[in-house]
Amino acid sequence: MSDAGNLYVPNLAVIDRIVEETWDTRTFRAVFTDAGMRERFSYHPGQFQEVSVFGVGEATFCLASSPTRTGYVEFSAKKVGALTSALHELSEGETVGIRGPYGNWFPYDMMQGKNLLFVGGGIGMAPLRSLLNFCLDRRGDYGHIDIFYGARTPGDLCYTKEFEAWRSAPDTSLYLTVDKGGPGWEGKVGVVPAYVREIAPASRNAVAITCGPPIMIKFTLPELGKLGFSDEQIITTLEMKMKCGVGKCGRCNIGHTYVCLDGPVFTYAQLRKLPPEF
């Protein structure tokens, strides 16, 4: 008799599409093998999943897809370690394991009627993409949308195939920038926080959602502050080392807060109350 309640047994899913985002990052679209699971696996933008390559292990990835687009889940993986390297070895048609969805999510109900300011950097755009596509699919529920997205070089920008859809969505602006330009790049050169300062989106009736490298977050927060965003109006999502995803393995706590259970989404006001250990 097998133990049906075993939390650690993943659902099998077949990788049906791999998008080469950058030289080191790919987006994987996975379809659950079990048709019932395709229905049952409902999630919210901002939640995460444990993805496994059998024989190599498991790692934590945010759901990069929007739950409004059904039939599959997506995650983006930058090749940095053993598990992500194994993922990059996979071909379409091969099987991975997925557990989840876990964690809390972006408060998209509270955001209704508000202007949204997305500030993303590099692979940090992945969780924002879930919320962004969610909001674009329910465009009438939200106000003006500004999207700031930056990367080191033009070749490090992810989701380039979606830029046109974002740019052309009603009442939506896309501001792309790179730290260092290159051949064929006619867009902005400079860091994300400086671009935010230049465009100066209004903070009134707005929510800022940010995710990216710590250095980008560090310099973006003061800019948002100058624009009048309160700590409660700034929302981010944290990355922490996790194994179980369900509050047992003891890895992702910040003080008594477990990022896998209480997060990964926090307002900046909440983060300021946590011990500085993330």
């Binding site: 049906a4 059998f54 024989g55 292990g57 393995c249 993330f278």
Partner: protein
């Protein structure tokens, strides 16, 4: 409290009787008087008294290495197989009060925190705990400093107290009563009860509290110099965590073979440098100072904030095992007094 007595000469036949219906785990002596909890054989020796076992019974609930699932095939066609749930009930004999209490702390994590870990939960549900009051606490023990006692009954089904030629057995639950049903044990007399009580009191007297756990929870400070003081000599060996009856952290890894493999979890510790290091290299706990702070703060502050009780029951194993003599009692004494 309802209680019976069992002559020591009858212990072996009682345990043999239990073996007919249960898997029985008990303290067994290995070389040089070291005691371990191991499954008892039909004809093996039964030794209830003796030294506190070197490890707690934790490993019978979260084994040091445990298969989470097996997988068969390759990435093109794979099937999964979960391990079987236990089919036989287990009785653990000679459980110390600190270790039984420690299981209630593990329950907080594995059963109460959001989702239930059924691997742990099934073992808890199918295991009965027979306690043994500590007559002479070991040199590292400090259960009385963290709200416990050498004869505390929390989490136990039966509690044995050594009265010389016999045991006084307090019946603490229905599950415990079933273990002695039909064995024909005599009811404990008032004299037996008094003798057990006196023995408990004498053990408590031998253990004056070292620190005030409640005060410690209030005084655990982020920037206190105490963390660096102890981190400087900490070897990060993890012995404290692995012997701790409440430390529960684990890693999940895969072991592959040509046509499949297993995913397992194994004990891990916040004392290791790569415990929190992420794939791309960022590590929120960069040095041993942060790791020492985490272990102490987690047990004496964070868990108190989360569940209202410490993640420590004062078994003293970490004190006795630390190769560089970091004495948790002294650490907490320092925290309490805000010295260093």
């Amino acid at each position: 409290m309802e209680a019976v007595v069992l002559n020591k000469s009858d212990v072996t036949s009682w345990v043999r009787g239990l073996l007919a219906s249960y898997r029985v785990v008990g303290p067994t002596s290995a070389a040089e008087g070291v005691v371990h909890y191991t499954p008892l054989a039909e004809d093996g020796p039964v030794v209830l008294d003796g030294l506190r076992p070197i490890r707690s019974p934790k490993e019978h609930f979260i084994p040091a290495t445990e298969t989470l699932l097996a997988f068969h095939g390759t990435a093109k066609a794979i099937s999964l197989e979960a391990p079987p749930a236990p089919t036989r009930e287990t009785v653990i004999l000679g459980v110390r009060s600190c270790d039984a209490r420690a299981l209630t702390r593990l329950d907080d994590v594995f059963l109460k925190r959001k989702e239930t870990d059924s691997l742990y939960g099934n073992r808890r549900k199918t295991t009965r705990l027979v306690g043994l009051a500590c007559e002479s606490p070991s040199w590292g023990c400090f259960c009385t400093s963290v709200g416990g006692s050498p004869a505390a009954s929390e989490g136990l089904d039966l509690l044995f107290t050594d009265l010389g030629d016999r045991y006084h057995i307090a019946i603490l639950s229905e599950a415990g009563r079933e273990l002695i049903a039909g064995a024909g044990f005599a009811a404990a007399t008032d004299a037996d009860a008094s003798a057990a009580k006196a023995q408990h009191a004498a053990a408590v007297d031998r253990m004056p509290p070292f620190f005030d756990a409640k005060a410690v929870a209030e005084k655990v400070e982020w920037d206190a110099p105490v963390w660096m003081h102890y981190a400087k000599r900490c070897l990060a060996c993890g012995a404290c965590s692995f012997l701790c009856p409440t430390c529960h952290c684990f890693d999940i890894q895969d072991d592959a073979t040509a046509d499949g493999g297993v995913r397992f979890r194994c004990w891990d510790t916040c004392q290791f440098g790569d415990f929190t290091r992420m794939g791309a290299g960022h590590n929120p706990r960069q040095t041993q100072k942060e790791r020492v702070r985490q272990r102490v703060s987690h047990k004496f502050k964070y868990l108190v904030e989360e569940f209202g009780r410490q993640g420590c029951t004062g078994c003293g194993r970490c004190v006795e095992a630390c190769p560089v003599n970091i004495d948790l009692r002294q650490v907490l004494h320092d925290v309490e007094g805000a010295k260093r």
